[in-house]
C-alpha cells in the first residue's frame, strides 16, 4: 500500500523513518521496550485524569475539594504524559509515514488535541471561579462538561491508540 503519498510532508516522514535511531528502534528489542513503557505512561495519565474527571462529575471523592484533587494528581499526570510522549515518539519514528496516514492514529491525535484544549479551557476559565464550588459535591455545569469531555476524549485516545496496530 502506498499510503504515504496521501499525506503532506512525505519527505520529512521518510527522513524520520530512515534515521539510524528509528531503524535501531524498529529492528531491535527497543520497540517492545518503548511500547511497554508507553502502556505504563498511558495507564498513569488516564488513571490520574480519570480521578479528577469523576470528581468534577460529582461521582466520587465528594469530600475532597475539586481543586485539590486536580492539583495533587496533576503531579503524576505530567511526568507520566512526558513518558508517554517520549516513548510514543520513539515508536512513531519507526514508521512515521504509515502512522500519519493511519486513520486510527489521526483520530488519536485529534482526541489528544481536543483533550488538551479542554484541559486548558478548564484550567484558565472554569477553574477561576473554583472558590465558589470547590467543596460542592456536584460542581457547576461548566466543570461537569469539562470532566465528561475529558473522560470521553481520553477513552477515545486509548481505543484509537490500541486500534493503530490493527490497521497497519
Amino acid at each position: 500500500m502506498n499510503e504515504e503519498s496521501s499525506v503532506p510532508f512525505t519527505a520529512f516522514w521518510t527522513w524520520l523513518e530512515t534515521l539510524p535511531l528509528s531503524e535501531h528502534i524498529g529492528f531491535t528489542w527497543w520497540f517492545p521496550f518503548l511500547e511497554s513503557l508507553h502502556v505504563l505512561g498511558v495507564g498513569l495519565v488516564v488513571g490520574s485524569i480519570l480521578m479528577v474527571d469523576l470528581r468534577l462529575l460529582g461521582r466520587t471523592a465528594l469530600s475532597v475539594p475539586a481543586s485539590r484533587m486536580r492539583r495533587e494528581l496533576v503531579h503524576w499526570t505530567w511526568p507520566a504524559f512526558a513518558l508517554a510522549v517520549v516513548t510514543g515518539t520513539g515508536l512513531f519514528m519507526t514508521r512515521a509515514g504509515t502512522y500519519i496516514a493511519n486513520p486510527a492514529f489521526q483520530f488519536k491525535l485529534l482526541c489528544l488535541l481536543l483533550a488538551g484544549m479542554n484541559m486548558a479551557w478548564f484550567q484558565f476559565r472554569t477553574l477561576r471561579s473554583v472558590g465558589a464550588w470547590d467543596t460542592a459535591a456536584v460542581p457547576p455545569p461548566a466543570a461537569r462538561v469539562a470532566g465528561l469531555a475529558s473522560l470521553a476524549l481520553w477513552i477515545g485516545v486509548i481505543f484509537a491508540g490500541r486500534w493503530v496496530g490493527h490497521i497497519i
Binding site: 511497554s36 502502556v39 495507564g43 498513569l44 477513552i155 481505543f159 491508540g161 490500541r162 486500534w163
Partner: protein, 177 residues
C-alpha cells in the same frame, strides 16, 4: 508440577468448545480484538488510579491531603472491578489460543507478578476494612504498609511491562540464544 498442569489445561482448552467460541468471536465480531484490548488497557488505567495510587499515597508520593483509610474504602472496589474486566478481556485471548500463552514464559512472569500484587492489595484492603486507620496506628504498621506498597508498585509495573512483552517473547529468545 506446574508445567504439567499448564500442559494439561492448555491441551484441554485447545479441544474445548470455549476455544472454538473465543476464536469465532474474535474472528467474526467486527472490531472485537481491539475493543477487548482497549478495555484491558482502560482496566490498567483504573488499577493505576486505585491500588497503585494508594501505594503511592502510603509512600508519601501522591495525594498527601487524602486520608489513607478513606482512600482504601473508596478506591479498592474500583481495583476489583478493573481486575474483573481485565480477567474477562484477557481470558478471551487466552482461551482462543491457549498454547500461545501457556507456553510463553513472559505470560508466566506476568502472573508471577500479578498474583502476589493482588494478594498484597487484599492484605492492605482487608486490614483497613476490619479496623479503619489500621495502617497508620503505629510506626511499625506504617513501615509494614510502606514495605508492602513498595513491593506492590514494583509488581504492578512488572505486570504492565510483562503484559506488553507477551507478544514479543520471541525477541527475548533471540536475544539470549
Amino acid at each position: 508440577m506446574i508445567p504439567a498442569m499448564k500442559e494439561s489445561v492448555a491441551a484441554w482448552l485447545t479441544e474445548s468448545q470455549a476455544q472454538e467460541l473465543a476464536v469465532y468471536l474474535l474472528g467474526n465480531v467486527p472490531g472485537l480484538p481491539p475493543i477487548a484490548q482497549s478495555f484491558h488497557i482502560l482496566g490498567i488505567a483504573v488499577v493505576m488510579s486505585s491500588t497503585v495510587m494508594i501505594n503511592l499515597r502510603l509512600l508519601g508520593l501522591a495525594v498527601p491531603s487524602q486520608n489513607v483509610s478513606e482512600m482504601i474504602g473508596r478506591l479498592m472496589p474500583w481495583t476489583w472491578w478493573a481486575l474483573l474486566v481485565n480477567a474477562t478481556t484477557g481470558l478471551l485471548f487466552v482461551v482462543a489460543r491457549p498454547n500461545r500463552y501457556f507456553y510463553n514464559p513472559v505470560f508466566s512472569w506476568k502472573f508471577l507478578c500479578l498474583v502476589p500484587a493482588v494478594l498484597l492489595a487484599l492484605v492492605i484492603y482487608r486490614m483497613s476494612k476490619r479496623e479503619p486507620g489500621y495502617w497508620e496506628q503505629s510506626t511499625r504498621r506504617l513501615v509494614s504498609a510502606r514495605v508492602i506498597a513498595s513491593i506492590s508498585l514494583v509488581l504492578w509495573v512488572g505486570v504492565v511491562l510483562a503484559g506488553r512483552w507477551i507478544a514479543y517473547s520471541d525477541y527475548l529468545y533471540f536475544l539470549y540464544e
